[in-house]
Amino acid sequence: MAQIIITIEDIPAATADKKLKLVKFAGQLDESNVDEKAKGIYDLINATPQGLFLIFDFEKLEYMNSKSIGYLTDWYTKLSEKKGGIVIANARANILDILQVVGLTQLIKCVPTIEEAKASIN
């Protein structure tokens, strides 16, 4: 079974109407673990009424399958409806490649560093 560790930490936001969280992924997101792990992200989204921005740090994410991409799209849609969003940072070449082929890079901003992700939100 593939291993994935997801850690979440708060980041100071520039304005009071925004809440920022850094979500770090380490390992592989696949069919064997994604449904279970997705629940934690939904809990995060549901717990914040408005203006939640998630920075997904993909530096240590080795693999993601199409269902993970489906969840990513759904999280983005739900956050956008509540004036929030997702920015992806530090993604490896193979992860960017698969995000690009499904067209997700046209929807979700992908930047090389956490600092650029913060700047794009603030």
Binding site: D30, E31, Y63, S66, K67, Q100, T105
Partner: protein
């Protein structure tokens, strides 16, 4: 094994209908493409995704728990890689090869809007990263999906989202 042999090399893996085993199959795919073919590193990762998506579909829809799926890799040296994934037809979906072909054609359209978490694997990943994608009904029951990717054929743009990348690298010593 003769290193310069041009004979196709066929490797078949039979695994239980359980996604638990897929990380091992992905590792094998990456290693096999790197060590046995001249496809680039980028393509090694792409085949990893292609195999994973095909197997996930077979596990979720094609073969019942307790049954099996069969993955076959055929390396045609310096020409192509061919991969087949077969299920037993005992799973929850009774779709035919023709239905599956139509489904992929529909979902591959740039205007198609995905409403569900699932459904992108075959249409957006497997179809985009292969030169041939074929579905056939097995006479024993179930579906066989066969993909082929040629070494020297550049990737064709799909849905305006994929750049033309080389399929291989040439090292000059």
């Amino acid at each position: 094994m003769e290193e310069n042999s041009k004979e196709p090399v066929k490797i078949t893996i039979i695994l239980p209908t359980n996604a638990y085993f897929m990380s091992g199959i992905r590792d094998f795919t990456l290693s096999m493409i790197r060590n046995m073919t001249h496809f680039s590193e980028q393509w090694a990762y792409r085949f990893q995704s292609v195999v994973d998506e095909l197997c996930n579909n077979a596990i979720e829809f094609g073969s019942a728990p307790g049954k099996e799926i069969t993955v076959t890799f055929i390396n045609h040296p310096d020409e192509s890689i061919e991969i087949t994934v077969e299920d037993t037809g005992t799973g929850k979906s009774k779709v035919t090869a023709e239905n599956l072909k139509k489904l992929v054609a529909e979902r591959s359209q740039p205007s198609y809007s995905f409403k569900d978490i699932r459904g992108r694997g075959l249409a957006k990943i497997v179809a985009a990263w292969t030169d041939e994608l074929e579905f056939t009904d097995r006479k024993e029951g179930g579906i066989k999906v066969r993909i082929k990717k040629y070494l020297n054929q550049p990737l064709q743009p799909v849905s305006g989202s994929v750049q033309s990348d080389p399929t291989h690298v040439v090292l000059t010593i």
